[in-house]
């Protein structure tokens, strides 16, 4: 008998008696006989707790990549997570709760998400934020749909320097035949070509979508893009990296209308890609066009402060086919991870994280540029935490050599050349690891040149 099922065969008989039947099979009456399985499912198990622990131990040991020093980024980053974050996530009160449908017994989740919304709004420089989306990419896709809904227009200009995986997700989400996505080219400095953007903008454009910093880690100048978007009565949608925001001008200050992003960097482990969390913030006037859950502050019958899910008439369970999105479950627990993480870091701590990412990645880039044959892919543009760099050997060979030395060196950028890599250094990479990277890279490049 499963340890999760409490009723023994004796209790089962008692339950059946109350139901008024003798045999369980009577409950299957409504299922046509021909569809009832007459054989057991072919599944392994049942496994004991100990057996399961051993099996997962074996699987975990087969993940050799888990032990490598990680310099890969491209949308998922190896940041430090304070122990207190997971202790809070493992509170039964949070992780075994459902969506806060009964607000009076869900104030913990509701207030935490309200605090999350506040932190996201402040980081991005926007007026409001929602309760979370699946991930940064789907948040970007939903932002495009939201921009089209708000403006009544059907064309979105997407920066060519947007994470290519995110672009794929946006294409998946925008299926209406009248929608159009056009890519904006970037210049030799890796930043969006403002003149080209201006040439492409025009009637019918609902939004300009730009990543900040972009896929190559480069910091775009948002203000001219905001001005351009607004002159065409379009919205500026910014896909922002939250860890960069304590250092960079906030998208809100630069004129963004919607800001989305990936929250994995703030207290969520890499876990081979998920679960992560997307955030979405916007100007207050767009709140009613937002997808997903939104938490609002209100009062109870005695005038005490409390929190509820609000503006629900946008959502699928009320509006059905006219809803702003089909999203139902979101990433509440991951949003909680962000909230606890940012609370622990606080104002100074998060700024320090941001600053260390900046300086460590610059130190690494400088070291690598000292290797003969290594060069920048883009010249002279400020970057944050990751950078595109070209090695004089193929990315495959470079990857193989570095992995042998216990280093996951980055993500190949095949579209930018055979030896191009996107390399990331977070606050977790100390000087000895950065120096070891440069040393090993020099060795591989020397071997490649000879």
């Amino acid at each position: 008998m499963s340890r999760f099922i409490p009723d023994s065969s004796g209790t089962r008989r008692e339950l059946l008696r109350t139901i008024g039947i003798e045999d369980f099979e009577e409950l299957l009456g409504p299922i046509p006989k021909k569809y009832r399985l007459t054989r057991p499912l072919e599944l392994p198990g049942p496994m004991s707790e100990l057996g399961l622990l051993r099996e997962f131990g074996r699987l975990a040991r087969n993940n050799e990549g888990a032990g490598k020093v990680c310099f890969a980024g491209a949308g998922a980053y190896d940041h430090f997570i304070p122990a207190a974050v997971d202790h809070i996530l493992l509170r039964s009160e949070f992780y075994t709760a459902y969506t806060p449908y009964q607000a009076e017994v869900s104030q913990g989740t509701l207030q935490a998400i309200f605090e999350y919304q506040t932190m996201i709004a402040r980081l991005t420089g926007m007026e409001m934020a929602n309760a979370s989306m699946y991930d940064g990419a789907s948040a970007a896709a939903e932002a495009c749909l939201m921009a089209m809904r708000s403006t009544g227009k059907d064309r979105v200009l997407v920066a060519g320097s947007l994470n290519p995986r995110w672009l794929q997700v946006i294409r998946t989400y925008i299926r209406r035949k009248d929608f159009r996505l056009d890519g904006i080219p970037f210049g030799s400095d890796g930043r969006l070509d403002i003149d080209a953007t201006a040439g492409m903008a025009g009637e019918g454009v609902a939004a300009i979508l730009v990543q900040y910093p972009n896929y190559y880690g480069l910091v775009e100048d948002l203000e001219p893009l905001a001005e351009l978007a607004h002159s065409e009565e379009a919205l500026l949608v910014v896909a922002a990296d939250p860890v960069a925001l304590p250092m960079l001008r906030s998208p809100g200050d630069a004129g963004a209308d919607i800001v989305v992003g990936e929250g994995q960097s703030m207290g969520i482990p890499l876990s081979y890609g998920g679960p992560y969390v997307g955030f979405m913030a916007a100007a207050m006037k767009l709140a009613r066009k937002m997808p997903g859950r939104i938490i609002g502050r209100t009062e109870d019958r005695a005038g005490q402060t409390g929190y509820v899910m609000t503006l629900q008439t946008r959502e699928q369970h009320i509006r059905r086919e006219k809803a702003t999105s089909n999203i139902c479950s979101n990433q509440a627990l991951m949003a909680l991870a962000n909230t606890v993480y940012l609370s622990l870091m606080g104002e100074e701590g998060f700024r320090e994280i941001s600053s260390q990412c900046y300086h460590r990645s610059h130190y690494l880039e400088e070291g690598l540029l000292g290797i003969p044959g290594v060069r920048r892919v883009f010249e002279g543009t400020p970057f944050f935490r990751e950078f595109a760099i070209s090695f004089p050997v193929s990315a495959d060979r470079f990857l193989e050599g570095m992995l042998e030395a216990g280093i996951l060196p980055g993500v190949p950028l095949t579209e930018l050349g055979d030896g191009a890599m996107l390399v990331t250094a977070t606050e977790k990479r100390d000087r000895s690891q950065l120096d070891a990277y440069v040393g090993k890279a020099a060795e591989i490049c020397r071997g490649g040149a000879s």
Binding site: A72, A97, R165, D253, M284
Partner: protein, 486 residues
Amino acid sequence: MKSIFGFCSRGRTGVSLPALDVPRSEGIPEGLSREDDGNVGLPRASEGQVVRHFVNLSTRNYHVDKGMYPLGSCTMKYNPKLHENLARMEGMASVHPLCPDDQVQGTLEMMHHLGELLCEITGFSGVTLQPAAGAQGEYCGILLIKSYHESRGESHRNEVLMPDSAHGTNPATSTLADCVVVGVESNAQGLVDPEDLRRKAGPNTAAFMLTNPNTLGLFESHIEELTAIVHGAGGLNYMDGANMNALLGIARPGDMGFDVCHLNLHKTFSTPHGGGGPGSGPVACSAELAPFLPEPVVRKDSRGVYRLHRERDPFGRLLAFHGHIGVLLKAYAYILTMGAEGLREASEAALINANYLKARLSEYFDNPFDNGPCMHEFVLSGERQAAKGVKTLDIAKRLLDYGLHAPTVYFPLIVHEALMIEPTDTEGIEELDRFADAMISIAREAEEKPHLVTDAPVNTPVLRLDEVKAVKDLCLVEPREGGDGA
């Protein structure tokens, strides 16, 4: 409770970070640097203050480790503790998603095997583990169906048929997929009316979306006829697997004429709901549709190495990476722990528990669709109580005073004053009786002392909250000290 932003003493922090051990480089140029210069507006609190804040918040939540959570169609079953540890193992949690395949063989093996197990459970032959939640699974399923029609030169098929009892995500998904929703009526027994389906299925039918058992907790007993009608019209059948907890090892969607279904791992397969997510919504499908599944999928190559297989791009990706791996790990652990026998036992217990509660409560509440046994859930109506001025919402709130969570209320829409009750397999007779006794007691209160119910809740951290005020005086973020509103 006091806000976390109330902690704001300068110099306080909840972390200790290593000092910067590399030289500082030139900073961000002026025009691009943060305008408020280190004053984002984050809290300033010590580690202990932060922990205490969130622990105090947590005590204001109801949760399934505290008591029964009878939300219909939500399958709030117990979340095994070991599984939390397994998903957090260093070897699992610290792998970068863009690691080369040979560096992540353990996780890829898990994904490959889990896919096979889900196929066996559903009776299908293809699966994607990518969808983030049920609604994204639905979207994936409808795109799969559209891709199939397009491949046959039938891209004009854009109607999605669904009963009026469907979950709200079904119509919302169809709109997102650029389809038109066509409602199909339910008959007096609460089942899809085959005649109406026959009238509505036609040359434009892309898909028929059906939850089975349906949202009344009834098995669509003429399912053979329904799926045949749709196939006859050239459409495909999609099963919303939200209620799969009724069918494990008992019946399989793939055997009863469905072509695609999604599963909610955070319901049927015991992964925690986290206060609203993360979920996971894998999609399984027939061999005919499998070629249209979104990539990457995990394959085992001739040398026994697991690979993320990328070949085609049928309709793109749904997430930036490969799905909610942490959730998949827990569902995999659940299936291995239960085995075939355990999964069947779970569904049997879910059915028995629901029928037991139905038997105990039928005398006290209206049951508009009581035509024999229910499956894993059932829907009562509070109309009898509403006639005395006690609404279903009041009953739900009063249950909170009894230390229980309320059922799903006002859904499905075809039942007035609906109370949709799903006890799940992991509740024992003691907790079932506690719930039944509370419901019966509330039914009595509605007769004798209705104000006790209409004034509820009174034993909760806050009293009934004003949702109208929340919309009218919209406050979505903590106002900033010194007040710039944002």
